[in-house]
Symmetry: D3
Subunit: 61 residues, 6 copies
Amino acid sequence: MPIVHIHMYEGRTVEQKRELVKRVTEAIVETVDTKPEAVHIVIHDMARHDYGDGGKLGCDA
Amino acid sequence: MPIVHIHMYEGRTVEQKRELVKRVTEAIVETVDTKPEAVHIVIHDMARHDYGDGGKLGCDA
Amino acid sequence: MPIVHIHMYEGRTVEQKRELVKRVTEAIVETVDTKPEAVHIVIHDMARHDYGDGGKLGCDA
Amino acid sequence: MPIVHIHMYEGRTVEQKRELVKRVTEAIVETVDTKPEAVHIVIHDMARHDYGDGGKLGCDA
Amino acid sequence: MPIVHIHMYEGRTVEQKRELVKRVTEAIVETVDTKPEAVHIVIHDMARHDYGDGGKLGCDA
Amino acid sequence: MPIVHIHMYEGRTVEQKRELVKRVTEAIVETVDTKPEAVHIVIHDMARHDYGDGGKLGCDA
């Protein structure tokens, strides 16, 4: 704890996810007074046809 | 905001998801007084062996 | 199944939530070919200081 | 209701998931006084590069 | 990891939640080959007017 | 999109949440190539009796 879920479009590389997890963990540790090993992050990749914004699919935007 | 997550069995077509996002967005806008562009929907496809109901997997039901 | 989670600002009345659940369920049933009794919806109320958009809290927007 | 989401590393067999759903449902029914048919469980498989712990990806640990 | 979210009606006692967390953790450890300290469980209480089933709120059922 | 959910113990101030949302948004924008206004963050406060780790409630740890 904290438990974090990040939902984003698929296509990011493992290197981008490595940096994402490192940087989001730092941001949490520095602002809400917790330890890095307490931060758990789950990344959920989404296809563009699995996201809707303003009533439209991402693949149609 | 509102943020919506919909978990359902895989197999729906992109056309069905397009209609789903359109209709769910309308339903939210008309009932809780928000704007379409504020409604964000994430669709999560599930395999039938990744859902359990009454202690049984969906693929065994 | 489908399982739906809706996160929105607190302050909606029970009557609005009743209508929301009725209308979202209909939208799902009519677009992805399922039965009303298979649709489960969880509503999560949020305070305006528990939502961030563009790096800013909702209570500051 | 209860609605349960379980996020875990991919690689478990369908037989393991079958047993997981059976056992978690029993654990819930016996501790919080509900019926098996009210327990809905969604299993989310994760790749090791989609999980972060202590600022590091699971695939680097 | 595993990360578990349980959404259920409010009203359970801390003693029931203590037993729930103990028993669900055991069920996971024994079925998917992981260690107890890797299992993280978040319990989400819901009011009966924040759950919908078959198009109806839980408080109306 | 990205959609982010952060579950953490209750007790953080609005000022801490303001800084959390600002810093996590920056971390995401700088690592996965998106715009700040596309980042939506929901903060979920938890009581210590609503979190389990290693089979034990947070309030007993």
